[in-house]
């Protein structure tokens, strides 16, 4: 009996020693403004994540300069697992387009979180009801159709891919993050932007128009919106979001974070809030996400070269 008690005491001590991380709240840097799509994905994720991590997760929105201000801050943070970085494909693009010196290799992967397909979205003040109408108009007035974009990031690349596929010329205006782009497109200050299903409510209310979705097949949530493929344009594009930690974060800490993340992604409530945003939950572990990042990095470099934005 006594031995058992000692055993329990010992086990719990050992447990305490191992459970040293996390002993205080964890800061999750979201490099875009609150209310944007990255924020909309990481806030519910943070809720589920803190439940499995056993510590409060504080979301810090550090926006500016195409997400690179937050990236730089995350890179400079102590590598103790208490500062994490909510990333998406912009990290590769801003590196190759020369917007930032921060590369994905300055971090270590924790897990991937979700993948959101892009939808080309038009302001209701424009007259186009479909992609062919847009293309005809853009061909008639080259360089006059304005696109709100986070320069050098995914919302710049997606329209650039469309631009190239359709053989048109667009004009880009800097609006950092989806939240700002939505204000601008609703007010009619820009004509087009890279949107996604998080904006479905506004489309239903007639405030925005979805022109085409960049997936292989039509999405069940918006069955009336055609894919680019159907229209003869080879454009498939989605934005994958995940969690990174500063480069020298210890393996034990990363393992704890990875475990909590994978469990959080399996939460029913998280899946539901992602579905509402037209986003697919993508639970890749450290290794899988690392391989994914390597692959995407190569693809993005090629992409940057292809659309003529490569600066490195």
């Amino acid at each position: 009996m006594k031995a058992l008690a000692w055993g329990i005491a010992f086990l719990s001590l050992a447990g305490a020693a191992q459970a040293a991380f996390p002993e205080r709240p964890v800061k999750l840097i979201v490099p875009w403004a609150a209310g944007g799509d990255t924020d909309n994905i990481f806030r519910p994720f943070g809720q589920a994540f803190q439940k499995h991590l056993g510590q409060t997760v504080v979301i810090a929105n550090i926006g500016g300069a195409s997400g690179t201000v937050g990236a730089r801050e995350a890179k400079a943070a102590p590598a103790d697992g208490y500062t994490l970085f909510a990333v998406h494909d912009f990290i590769h693009l801003t590196y190759y387009t020369g917007v930032a010196d921060t590369s994905y290799s300055d971090f270590r992967p924790v897990c991937s979180v979700a993948s959101t397909p892009s939808v080309l979205t038009a302001s209701p003040k424009t007259k186009w009801q479909s992609i062919p109408e847009l293309i005809a108009d853009a061909k008639a007035r080259p360089g006059a159709v304005t696109v709100g974009a986070t320069l050098g990031s995914t919302s710049h690349f997606f329209p650039a891919i469309v631009e190239k596929a359709a053989g048109i010329k667009l004009k880009y205006v800097s609006y950092d993050g989806l939240a700002q782009r939505m204000n601008a497109i609703l007010g009619g200050h820009i004509d087009l932007t890279d949107g996604n299903l998080t904006q479905k409510g506004k489309v239903d209310a007639g405030q925005l128009r979805f022109l085409a979705i960049a997936t292989e097949k039509r999405n069940a949530e918006i069955p009336n919106v055609p894919t680019f493929r159907e229209l003869g344009l080879d454009v498939v594009y989605s934005v994958t979001r995940g969690l990174l930690a500063p480069k020298n974060t210890p393996d034990a800490v990363l393992a704890t974070l990875e475990g909590a993340c994978i469990k959080a992604l399996a939460e029913e409530s998280f899946a539901r809030s992602m579905k509402a945003q037209g986003t697919e939950v993508l639970p890749l572990d450290r290794k899988g996400y690392g391989a994914f990042l390597d692959r995407v990095d190569g693809e993005n470099k090629a992409l940057a070269q292809e659309v003529g934005l490569l600066r490195r």
Binding site: P25, K27, A33, A34, G35, G36, D39, R43, T56, V58, I59, A60, N61, G64, A65, S66, T68, V69, R72, E73, A76, T94, V99, A100, T146, L151, G152, K171, Y172, V173, S174, Y175, D176, A179, M182, N183, A184, L186, G187, H189, I190
Partner: protein, 506 residues
């Protein structure tokens, strides 16, 4: 709308929101009552303590501080003749004489009830106009935003009591501070001098706390000796008993005065750049001009108290409209409030009302409920707050300084913020000594990035510069900017040796 508001009220009346709201209001009243401690400082000190709370809990606390602070100043203003904060300066003109004539209770309660009614009327405007103004805000393109910010800057520079040139220079200096670090469009590093820290630019809130809280508290320390004398008179407890029905009757018997002062408060609140003190000074001035007995002003007339206090509380409602509908700060208090919203994951702006309806109405409800809470706090504690005022400056100022430093540190958990705070504390103090007004500097600092981003956007959308003057709203705002500078020049020429107006409240 009423249904949404009722839901909001039912929501906020839960203890988990009501407690932070009440605590915030109490801290606000105390902070407002303490001479030398502005509402901005109080808000900054409370902010780090709300980090761990739910968004609406945190915002309820901050709104409580804002509303409470705007009311707390009247206690010190009426009873010892020292404004607890700049926006209660005009309350001292009549409140203090009335208290000295043996009616301290009447003076204090006139102020409290006027704050209450002014604040609630401001709330009606807040709820009614936010959605409507958000629609207008949506129509603002980069040209209009640029013009609006230029208007705000020129107005503040024109309003300062010091020379116009110094006002404009101070504004420009604020703008220059924001150019340090990566540019907001393409992330090109500027003036970083090879320092990794400067790549991110000077962090906004530590600079603000440094320039604002430190520089101001330093000047207070210099004046501490002169304030010590009046503190002694505040030592004893004053009897504030008065017939509440009579006081309320006195206010409601002057509906025109109440409405007009409230209107001025709201208007000044909605306009970016000018804060509560301009509102109360203007409302007081208007009340005097429109009165049948202007000669009684300054001798303890109730009109003076009502005008000043109704307008400065209504001003809060107006300011909240601007940050909620446009998502842009008008002054230091609202800049910190906006910072607080961002920290709690709320992006205010034209879409805020429609996307975050529950939260928006929660904020409205918190604003409305803060008023009866303020009233209750005053009823219980007004006479005791004077005791707090007697805390010697030598103890109070160091305490506030420490809390400011803690607040700056807590924003990012880095000592760098504290160094920035120290640096800008010295810079701000130096500028005050050289006679530069701080208000335009702060506004330049607040609006710098926004001005730059919107100018670049406008030019990226269309390289035609004429659009700034051919788009009607933009042209109107730019014309107003020119007008405000011309007006300031003309006024200075006219009253070269006239009485100086109190500085714009931040």
């Amino acid at each position: 709308m009423f249904e949404l508001l009722a839901d909001g009220l039912l929501n906020v009346i839960q203890l988990k929101y009501l407690i932070p709201l009440a605590i915030g209001t109490l801290i606000g009243v105390v902070g407002g009552a303490l001479p030398g401690i502005t509402i901005t400082m109080t808000v900054i000190m409370v902010l780090p303590f709300t980090f761990g709370l739910e968004p609406l809990q945190g915002l309820a606390a901050m709104i409580g501080v804002y509303v409470g602070g705007e009311s707390g100043g009247l206690i010190t203003a009426t009873l010892i003749g020292i404004p607890g904060k700049p926006s209660s300066i005009s309350t001292t003109f009549d409140g203090f004489p009335m208290a000295r004539k043996g009616e301290p209770g009447r003076a204090v309660w006139l102020g409290i009830w006027a704050s209450f009614f002014g604040g609630l009327l401001g709330g009606v405007f807040l709820i009614g106009a936010t959605g409507w103004l958000a629609d207008i805000a949506l129509r603002f393109g980069p040209w209009e935003f640029f013009a609006l910010f230029i208007f705000a800057l020129s107005m503040v520079a024109g309003l300062t009591e010091e020379s116009l040139a110094k006002g404009l220079l101070a504004g420009a200096f604020g703008l220059i501070i924001t150019t340090f670090g990566s540019d907001p469009i393409m992330s090109v590093p500027r003036f970083t001098m090879g320092s990794q820290f400067l790549v991110g630019g000077f962090p906004f809130l530590p600079v603000l706390i440094g320039i604002f809280a430190f520089a101001q508290l330093m000047t207070d320390i210099e004046r501490a000796r002169s304030l010590a004398g009046s503190d002694a008179s505040a030592g004893q407890l004053v009897n504030l008993a008065v017939s509440q029905t009579r006081v309320v009757g006195e206010i409601l018997a002057r509906p025109f005065l109440l409405l007009w002062s409230t209107f001025i408060g709201i208007l000044i609140g909605v306009l970016p750049a000018i804060g509560g003190s301009a509102a109360s000074v203007m409302a007081y001035d208007q009340a005097k001009k429109l009165s049948r007995h202007p000669e009684r002003f300054g001798t303890g007339t109730p009109e003076g108290i009502i005008a000043s206090e109704a307008s400065n509380n209504a001003n809060v409602g107006g300011s909240l409209v601007t940050i909620m509908a446009f998502g842009i700060p008008g002054d230091a208090v609202t800049a910190v409030m906006l910072g607080a919203m961002t920290i709690h994951g709320i992006q205010s702006g034209p879409l805020f009302m429609s996307q975050e309806t529950t939260l928006a109405y929660g904020i409205f409800a918190a604003y409305l409920l803060a008023h009866p809470i303020m009233l209750a706090i005053m009823a219980v504690g007004a006479r005791w707050f004077l005791r707090i005022v007697t805390i010697p400056k030598s103890i109070l100022i160091p305490m506030v300084l420490v809390l400011c430093v803690v607040g700056a540190y807590a924003l990012n958990n880095t000592m760098d913020s504290v160094w920035v705070l120290g640096l800008f504390g010295l810079v701000g103090y130096g500028l005050v000594k050289l006679g530069f007004p701080l208000a335009p500097l702060i506004l330049g600092l607040i609006l710098g990035d926004q001005i730059e981003v919107n100018l670049v956007r406008a030019l990226m959308t269309d390289s035609d510069l004429w659009l700034f003057v051919t788009r009607p709203i933009s042209a109107f705002l730019l014309a107003l900017s020119v007008l405000s500078v011309v007006l300031a020049l003309w006024q200075r020429r006219r009253q070269r040796r006239g009485p100086t107006e109190p500085d714009v409240d931040f």
